[in-house]
């Protein structure tokens, strides 16, 4: 079986290695791999094989294509047979554990020199709504410029786990929404014009 050298990029140690293999059965945690295939079955409609306990660890199989033919030797007399590299799984989930206690969403209503005020609610239908004043120091330096009137934000409170340590956390995130593009604004204006065009005002 040919071995492919480790791929090294950006000077960092790679986490996965390309291998040629002629073994159809998934290696490692069979249940995990089967579960992976199940996840991608949902997306790309491949058949599901279920032969073990599923694990909820979400991971990607880089290649789900089954080898059509396999060889572990290339000879000059025979036509080389194609072998599709099968990579080990990439972990698509970052590590970490978080318990959410509360999430509010809202927008900035005013900004002062050292603080900003926001109107927030847990659910869209909430009434009365929450109004909170935050010190600008609660935001990272990059985010402070984002706290302007009308800016959308999310405020969450919960516990974050780092190893065995549990930390209570309050996090304010100012949303970085993509700006309006001219084409999009034009389309939106057309839609508004279309909506109001035939209304017969007195």
């Amino acid at each position: 079986m040919a071995n492919i050298p480790e791929i090294s990029t950006c000077g960092n140690q790679p986490r996965w290695i390309n291998e040629f293999q002629n073994d159809q059965r998934p290696r490692g945690n069979a249940g995990t791999q089967v579960m992976l295939r199940s996840l991608f079955t949902l997306l790309i409609k491949e058949p599901v094989r279920r032969d073990g306990m599923g694990s909820e660890q979400e991971s990607a199989v880089v290649s789900t294509a089954a080898p059509t033919e396999t060889t572990d030797r290339i000879t000059t007399s025979s036509r080389p047979r194609s072998v599709i590299p099968r990579a080990k799984r990439l972990n698509t989930l970052p590590k970490g554990r978080y318990i959410l206690l509360k999430k509010y969403e809202g927008f900035v209503t005013s900004r002062g020199e050292k603080s900003f005020t926001a109107r927030l609610s847990e659910n869209a239908s909430d009434y009365p709504v929450l109004e909170a004043e935050f010190d600008l120091e609660e935001l990272s330096e990059t985010d402070r410029s984002l706290a302007v009137d009308g800016a959308a934000l999310v405020w969450t409170m919960g516990y974050r786990y780092e190893g065995n340590t549990r930390k209570r956390e309050s996090l304010i995130y100012l949303r970085r929404l993509p700006p309006w593009k001219d084409a999009e604004a034009e389309l939106a204006k057309k839609a508004a014009d279309e909506l109001t065009r035939d209304i017969l005002w007195k």
Binding site: L43, E56, V62, T142, E169
Partner: protein, 216 residues
């Protein structure tokens, strides 16, 4: 979230996120770069995991607080890459629920997968390992909703619920506006997709009660 299409993984270096003002200098310094290359990218930045291979782009977080950030990243990325041919996408959300009581946990399993009719006769001590139910999603972005319910591997006795909102866009080879469809889907369905797992879990825990012998 997973998007199926045709991508150039090499784009998604932390510096790119900095240039697009999605991440700050500190975020870039703290980013974890596993690999960035022509065929694959695997990085962690701003609490989000970005994994991209040629035909698949995924963005994930283990922290629900970052859900809005994920949406912002996705909206930005696909607004900046409007000509990316995308064919399908899925928004996945999952959660673990502590059941606490083993008897109640077993009751949930027995209710979702009754054993009496078939399994008791075939297996010794059968137990539910996983249930997947698919349903249709109507509206402006019709597709499928796939729900998986399993015993939790993280907390025991616990329940794990995964929800997948699948959206199959038209053939990218024919349609040039699949990215536009993706962006509109992200805006319209994001919130309900994220809440689905919780709604399903709430419904299960509401309908299958621990105290009484029967369930509604």
């Amino acid at each position: 979230m997973v998007v199926v299409g045709s991508f150039n993984p090499a784009i998604f270096h932390p510096e790119w996120f900095l240039r697009q003002k999605l991440a700050g200098e500190d975020d870039v310094k703290e980013a974890q770069v596993n690999v960035v290359g022509r065929d694959v990218t695997d990085i962690e930045i701003c609490g989000l995991k970005v994994v991209c291979i040629n035909d698949r782009f995924s963005l994930a977080t283990a922290n629900i607080s970052h859900a809005a950030k994920m949406q912002d990243f996705l909206l930005h990325i696909f607004a900046l890459l409007p000509h990316t041919p995308v064919t399908a996408c899925g928004i996945n959300s999952f959660a673990h629920y502590l059941i606490g009581d083993t008897q109640y946990w077993n009751k949930i399993g027995h209710t979702l997968v009754p054993k009496e009719l078939i399994w008791n006769g075939l297996l010794e001590k059968p137990g539910m390992q996983s249930v997947i139910v698919k349903g249709l999603r109507k509206g402006d972005f019709p597709g499928e909703i796939n729900i998986r319910v399993e015993p939790s591997q993280k907390i025991q006795p616990g329940l794990y619920v995964l929800s997948n909102y699948h959206y199959q866009m038209a053939d990218a080879a024919i349609d040039s506006d699949t990215t536009e469809k993706l962006l509109n889907f992200l805006k319209a369905e994001w919130k309900s997709a994220l809440e689905k797992a919780r709604i399903v879990a709430d419904e299960i825990l509401l309908k299958i009660r621990p105290d009484d012998g029967e369930h509604s």
